[in-house]
Symmetry: none
Subunit: 367 residues, 2 copies
DNA sequence: CCATACCATGAATCCATCT
DNA sequence: AAGATGGATTCATGGTATG
């Protein structure tokens, strides 16, 4: 453990996990001493019953005691309290990141604004492998939202524009980040082999946040430390961290984890530049975008069949409804069919394969 | 213009753009008469004007904070007012979509929750061609956020799951949608060739929203109608719309625009529906019709269990009597079981799922 | 050793209808 | 109105067992 003296008499307990209630602990630390705060507070999920997958297995819900709040008012009070204590700790040019879902993020965002923070961006973490919506009653909840805010309007927050651009293959970093959820070896397990924490965040997320909004040597505080992703990544990247965590079990896992982490020798920020596959374009997108109209007729390559486009991107032919692929296969009496190359539309008397439209969308996406 | 009589004496002005303040106009319409509301409220530009003090670098922090709070309070009041009026208009099973950016969406989301709406998803519109951040001081603001909420917790909102899945090439629709911003021919221009509205939304966005959360004939209201994207797409898709817009110029553009729109033909508006839409067939009917004989044996999908059909359409297995579902669940020690897909019968040595018989009855019903 | 198949699981506000 | 019942519903990934 390292400590440094700040302007006051109080020592700043660097690279330590403090135990206790985060508001109390934060209030015991010297004001204006922290460069960045990353916070992953309870989401207040308000889950009622149980949920089963279609295969009858039960979903392991986040029903921990620390996520229980009796009302929005209670949650708001909790949020205002910790945001106030956090703001006091920030240096004038400090900043904060908070992550949440639709259950809590609107409360958090409003409280941030009310407390005097200045929102810089909301950043969306698009999960490449989210849990599906098993009952088919809503959209797959495929993202979480992060809010990035400076301590005050006009604060000279840190933003390493070029580093982020480099991380993004030379293109300016956007407000939507695609990353997988934390699984595999990165996911910490307890002695029983169960996940050590129900909501462990991926290190890649913290990597991008810390590279983008701190400099080496900066002090990063995490008031809901959990199993210490923030601390682990901060250590790798040569930043100082302070963790606060109430639960003994989480603190113990985090201590062990961080002890094993080695700081990177150099700027070893390899970006995986793997060849990415061409993005899949659903046929329905051509309809939504008005490139093809519902009711418009498509013609088969060989001109022997036709079918009509429906509003949901399916086709209807004689005796058959389904996707462009299904209808093509049916009409050709074939086991399968690539609808993209099979179907054509007419424009100004010309017959054009629909695949041309797909290419058009793909070229837009490359920008 | 079409109007219909509702339960009260007040007529509902369908397919009309009403002029005036949206709260007053909404309060003049009959309660519980609207299926869906789509709202694109102002993003709190007034706030920005107040907060950006000209070249005053030494602004007192407390003053600044107070300023912020008072401005947000004004915006919050405005938001609460129109959300309350909107909620009154919604049918019990109605729903709302609101779109916004980080400037206002957290206020809107909190107000929605406080007003008794029940958030179903937040959906991110990920722009494939956003405006870059020219000064390189923040992330490219590449998305906007939409909140989808039912009128109340437990409301039986419309969700055309299968149609959305079809739009997405057979994979369940996620909460992040990639779409280009409104440009090109779709972007409405005024007589000077300038854009007619600063924040015209793409029709593709409304297409997905209306296909997903309304049915043909539903009433869709847009209290901030602008140049009428909601009305144009509603008309195409055979939904009824009501627009409210304060500015004469926008109303005029919208009127012209919508007049040109043609409704898609009926067949094209038909959309994929799942099994849930199929009529329910009691298992006992298979016995009554003689498709299965009392005493006949059924075999589980995995061939591990068998049970005997009884005259009343229940099954009897070892230690268990009950419906096809109950017996299946018991034998598999599962919380539930779909007996239709679990049980098979034998004919001419072949094993056939009983669901085939149900399909047979259903196809008879179609005639 | 490799290829394939099977299985487990992730911050989830996840049913509709009839008795 | 509460309780019981019918029966509809999943995607990406990593780990493990099998061949």
């Amino acid at each position: 453990m390292t400590t440094t003296k700040t302007q006051g008499a109080t020592a700043l307990p660097l690279n330590t996990i403090l135990s206790g209630d985060c508001v109390e602990v934060m209030n015991s630390l010297p004001a204006a001493s922290v460069d960045l705060i990353f916070a992953d507070p309870p989401y207040n999920l308000q889950l009622k019953g149980q949920l089963h997958r279609p295969d009858n297995s039960q979903v392991d819900a986040v029903d921990d005691h620390w996520d229980q709040f009796s009302s929005f008012a209670t949650y708001d009070r909790f949020t205002r309290d910790w945001l106030k204590a956090a703001r006091r700790l920030l240096k004038p040019n400090g900043a904060i990141w908070v992550i949440g879902s639709y259950h809590n993020i609107f409360r958090v965002g409003s409280a941030l604004q009310d407390a005097g923070y200045w929102i810089l961006n909301d950043v969306v973490w698009r999960k490449s492998n989210p849990m599906p919506n098993f009952r088919g009653k809503r959209f797959t909840n495929a993202h979480e939202t992060m809010i990035w805010a400076s301590k005050s309007e006009g604060g000279k927050y840190t933003f390493n524009y070029e580093a982020l651009k480099a991380l993004n293959e030379g293109v300016q970093m956007r407000s939507d980040w695609v990353m997988p959820i934390c699984t595999g070896h990165e996911r910490l397990k307890d002695e029983n082999g169960d996940k050590a924490h129900p909501t462990q965040k991926p290190e890649a997320l913290l990597h991008r946040i810390l590279v983008g909004s701190t400099n080496p040597g900066d002090v990063v505080l995490d008031p809901f430390f959990g199993t210490g992703t923030t601390g682990a990544v901060a250590k790798m990247l040569g930043r100082e961290f302070i963790g606060i965590e109430r639960e003994d079990a989480y603190r113990q896992v985090a201590e062990k984890r961080i002890a094993k982490v080695r700081k990177f020798d150099r700027e070893a920020l390899q970006v995986s530049a793997g060849k990415r596959a061409e993005p899949r374009i659903p046929f329905g997108q051509l309809v939504e975008r008005g490139m093809l109209r519902p009711g418009e007729e498509l013609y088969s390559m060989n001109q022997r069949h036709k079918a009509k486009v429906r509003a949901d991107g399916t086709l209807i032919g004689q005796n058959i409804k389904g996707s462009i692929h299904q209808v093509g296969a049916f009409l050709e009496n074939a086991p399968s069919c690539n609808g993209w190359t099979y179907w054509c539309f007419k424009r100004d008397g010309k017959v054009v394969p629909i695949d041309v439209l797909r290419q058009q969308i793909r070229s837009e996406l490359e920008n």
